[in-house]
Amino acid sequence: MSLVEVSGLTISFDGAAGARAVDGLSFTLEAGAALGVVGESGSGKSASAYALLGLHRGTGATVGGSIRVAGVDVQAATDAELRALRGSRAAMVFQDPLSSLDPYYAVGDQIAEVYRVHTRASRRAARARAVEVLDRVGIPDAARRSRSRPHEFSGGMRQRTLIAMALACEPQLLIADEPTTALDVTVQAQILDLLHHLRHETGMGLLLVTHDVGVAAESVDDVLVMQSGREVESGPVADVLSAPRRPYTRELLSAVPRVDAKRATPAAAPGVKGPVPVPAPRDAGGGEPLLEAVGLRREFGRGSGRVIAVDGVSLTVHRGETLGIVGESGSGKTTLGRMLVRLLDPTGGSLHYGGAEIGSLSDKALRPYRRELQMVFQDPVASLNPRRSIGESVADPLRAAGVLDDTRIRSRVQELLERVGLDPNRYDRYPHEFSGGQRQRVGIARALAAGPELIVCDEPVSALDVTTQAQVTALLAELQRELGLGLVFIAHDLAVVRQVSDRVAVMRQGRIVEQGSVDEVYGAPQDPYTKQLLAAVPALDPALATVRRAARKELAAA
C-alpha cells in the first residue's frame, strides 16, 4: 500500500458559488519518494495539501473523493484517529510561515509541545529536541534563539522553525507547502538537502508544493502540474521538465527566470496580460536621489538579548530606479525595509527623502509622506485585516487621499486587482478566502493604489508561480517607467532580482557586504558570500541538481 493514495479529490468552498477549488485530483506517493506539485497561484495546491490531513473538516469546505494517508482513511477517520495521524505520521509545513506560529510562546516551546504530543518525552528532552532540530534547519545559536518569540524572528527564520517542527516528529510523510519562499538560496539549498537526506535515511515521503520549478527540479522524483484545480500533467520530474507535453507546462517552464539572464532581455512572459516591460531609460547613480539612507542602524532589545538587526547601512534609491536587496535570511532586510518607509524608528543614522530628513520625524509629521512611501509586506496574511474585505483594504489609500467617490474607488480598485492578476469580482471577499499567492498580490495592489513615489517590496513574488511572477514584475516595471517610481526589491530569488533590478545590494548580518550594478554583482561578485549565493541557485535540470548537491555535501564535509 502506498503512503498516500488520493483519488477523485474535489474541494469546494461554500462562498465560491459552486466552483470547485480542486476538481478530480488523483495521485499516489510511495514511502521515500517525493512528489512535487507545481502550478499557478490559486490552482488548489494548498487546498489539496490540507485535505491530506483532513484540515478542511469543520470549516465549511466540502471535500469529496477518497484520501488515504499512511493507512488512514482521512475522510472517514474519527477525530482521535486524525489526531494520531497528524504530526506523527504526516506533518505539514504551512505556506504562511509568519502567521503560523503562536505569538505568545517561545519557538522552542512550540516545537517541544508538538513533539510531546506524539512521544512520551519529558519536557526537558522535548526542549533538547527542539534545539536540535532548530540547529538542523540552520538557526544560528539555536539554544539561545529557541527562547525567542516568533515576532523576534525574521521571516526565513520562522519558516525554518516550521520545518523544524515538522521534522521534530520524524513523520513518514512531510507535506511542505512552499517551504522555502522566505529563504535565501544558500539556506534554501541547505533545507532542500536536509529533506533529501531524510528521504533517503528514514524513508520519509515528501509532498512538495511549490511554484518554483527550480526547487522542484532539485528535490522531487515525480511532478504534478496543476491548473485551476485540475491536473494538467504528471510524471517523472526529468520527463516533465525536459519534455513537457502540455502547452501550460511549456508556458510555465519558459517563464522561469534565469539567474544568468541579463535584465536587458527580460524573460518573455507568454500569456501574461499587459505589456511586456521595456527597460526604462536609466540614470542610475545620477541626479537627485529619491531616498538616501546614511549609516542606518537598528537594535532590538537590551542587555544580553540585544540584537543588532541593521548595522550602519547606507544606500540611495533614485527616481525610476530599482534597488534589489538580497541576502541571508535574518540579515536585516525586512528591518531595513521597514525603516526606509519609516514604520520602524531607526536607532541610528539618517534618512533623507526628497531633500527632507525623515529619519526622526514624529508619526504626525510623517503623515504627508506616508502615501509616497509604500511597502509590500513579507507576510501577506498579517498585512491584511482579516475583518475587512480585500477590496476595502486596497481602497484605503484612495479613501485617505479623499478625492474619489465610492463607485470610482471601486472601479479603480477593481482595475488594480485585475492588473495584479486577481478576479476583480472578488472585491468583497475576505483575506482568508484567498490562496497565499493571491494575498500577496492584494498587498501589491494596495501599495500601488497609494500612487507612491517609492515602494519597498519585501519578497513580493515569493509565493507566486513563475507566470504570475512575471506578470507582477512586469507590472511594477511598467509603472516604474510610467511614473518614475523608485523601487526597493527585497527577494531571495536571485534570478528575479537580477531580472528587475538596476542595482543590487547584498546583505549579511545587518551590513551591506557588496553593492553595485546588477551586472557587476552577478557577473563579477567580489564578496565571498555573494559568490556562495550565486552558487546555490537551484538548477532547472534534476541531473545537474544531483551533482551540485553532492558538491555541497563535500564542501560541508570538508
Binding site: T10, G15, R57, T59, G60, S383, P397, D428, R446
Partner: protein
C-alpha cells in the same frame, strides 16, 4: 463512490454574497439562536413600549394597593398560592402592598431597559474612546488616561452621586441623570479591555499598512481596530447591562433614582431580597427577567460578534463537527 463520500461538513448556507452588508446579514441569519435572541429582545422592548396597553389588558395598574390580597397578620404575604397568581393578577401581587406584579413588571421594563441601555451606551462610548486613545497614544497620553481611569475606579459611586445631587437641579429628568451617573462611573472595564486589545493589535502588519495609507490615528482606530475590538466590547457591554439595571436601584436609595411609585426591575429586585423564602415569586420574577434580558443580549451579542468576524463564520465550528469513535 466519490459522490457518495461527499460530506457536507457544516451547515452554513451557501449563497453568493453581493456585498459586505448582505453577507453580514447572511452570517447573522445563519445563527438561529441569534435570531431567537433578537426576537426576545424585541419583545422585551415591545413590552416596555406597550406597558400601559398590556396592563390595561390585564385590567390592572402598577400603583393601586390591594390591602385585601395580602395577609396582614403574617407580615403581608400575598394570599393564595404562588404569590397570589390569579386570573386578575397574572404574576401575583407584591407583598405588603398588594400591587399587581404584572403591571409593575411591564412598567418597570421601561425604566430598567431604557436606563440600562442609555447607561451602557455611554459606558461603551467613553470606554472605547479612552481605551483606544490610551492604547494608541504615546506614553504620556497612555499614562494620563490610565491614571484618570484609576481615579474613576477608586471613586465610590456614592461620592459621584452626592456631587451630582448637589449640582443637578431637582427637576432634571431622573432617568437621564441616572444614565449619566452610571455611565460616568462604569466605563473603566471597557476602557481597560480596549486598551489591552489595542496594545496587542497595534503591532500587527495590517495596522502598519493602514498607517502607510496615510490614515490618521482616528481613521486607523475606526477601520483597523474597532472591528477587532467589537467582539470583546460587545461581550463586555452585554455584561454591564444587568449591573446597570441594579445600580439604578442603589442610586434611588441616595435619592438620585427613579421616584416611587414608578416601578423598576432593579428596585423590585432590591425590595424583594428578604422575601426569597416567604414570597419566592416576588424575587424570582425580576431576577428571571433580568436573567432573560442578559441571556438574550448575550446570545444576540454572540451572533453579532460572529457576524462581524468573517473568519469565525466559517471556522467557528472547527473541531466541533467531530466524528465520534466508530462503533467497532
Amino acid at each position: 463512490m466519490a459522490e457518495a463520500l461527499l460530506v457536507k461538513e457544516a451547515g452554513v448556507a451557501a449563497a453568493a454574497p453581493a456585498s459586505g452588508a448582505s453577507s453580514f446579514r447572511r452570517r447573522l441569519r445563519a445563527r438561529r439562536s441569534a435570531v431567537v435572541a433578537a426576537v426576545v429582545v424585541a419583545l422585551l422592548v415591545l413590552v416596555a413600549l406597550a406597558a400601559p396597553l398590556l396592563a390595561g389588558i390585564e385590567g390592572q395598574d402598577p400603583t393601586t394597593y390591594h390591602a385585601n390580597l395580602v395577609d396582614s397578620a403574617t407580615g403581608g404575604v400575598p394570599l393564595g398560592s404562588f404569590g397570589g397568581i390569579s386570573a386578575e393578577h397574572w404574576l401575583g401581587v407584591e407583598p405588603l402592598t398588594g400591587r399587581d406584579l404584572f403591571a409593575r413588571v411591564v412598567y418597570g421594563a421601561r425604566v430598567s431597559l431604557g436606563v440600562a441601555l442609555a447607561a451602557t451606551l455611554l459606558q461603551v462610548i467613553i470606554g472605547v474612546v479612552v481605551g483606544l486613545a490610551a492604547g494608541l497614544g504615546n506614553r504620556f497620553v497612555d499614562q494620563a488616561l490610565s491614571r484618570v481611569t484609576d481615579i474613576v475606579v477608586a471613586l465610590p459611586v456614592m461620592v459621584i452621586a452626592l456631587g451630582a445631587l448637589a449640582v443637578v437641579p431637582a427637576d432634571f429628568p431622573r432617568p437621564v441623570l441616572i444614565a449619566v451617573i452610571v455611565g460616568l462611573v462604569g466605563w473603566s472595564g471597557i476602557s481597560k479591555i480596549v486598551r489591552a486589545r489595542t496594545l496587542a493589535l497595534k503591532s500587527l502588519d495590517h495596522v502598519a499598512a493602514a498607517r502607510l495609507s496615510g490614515w490618521g490615528g482616528l481613521r486607523i482606530a475606526r477601520r483597523e481596530l474597532l472591528p477587532a475590538l467589537a467582539a470583546p466590547v460587545i461581550t463586555y457591554a452585554v455584561l454591564l447591562f444587568p449591573g446597570n439595571i441594579v445600580v439604578e436601584a442603589a442610586l434611588s436609595f441616595l435619592g438620585v433614582g427613579i421616584k416611587p411609585p414608578t416601578p423598576s426591575w432593579g428596585q423590585m429586585l432590591s425590595d424583594a431580597d428578604t422575601w426569597y423564602q416567604a414570597a419566592p415569586t416576588y424575587l424570582l420574577i425580576p431576577a428571571l427577567l433580568i436573567f432573560i434580558t442578559v441571556l438574550a443580549l448575550t446570545v444576540l451579542g454572540e451572533g453579532v460578534r460572529n457576524a462581524l468576524d468573517p473568519r469565525v463564520a466559517s471556522r467557528l465550528r472547527i473541531g466541533t463537527g467531530r466524528k465520534k469513535e466508530a462503533g467497532g
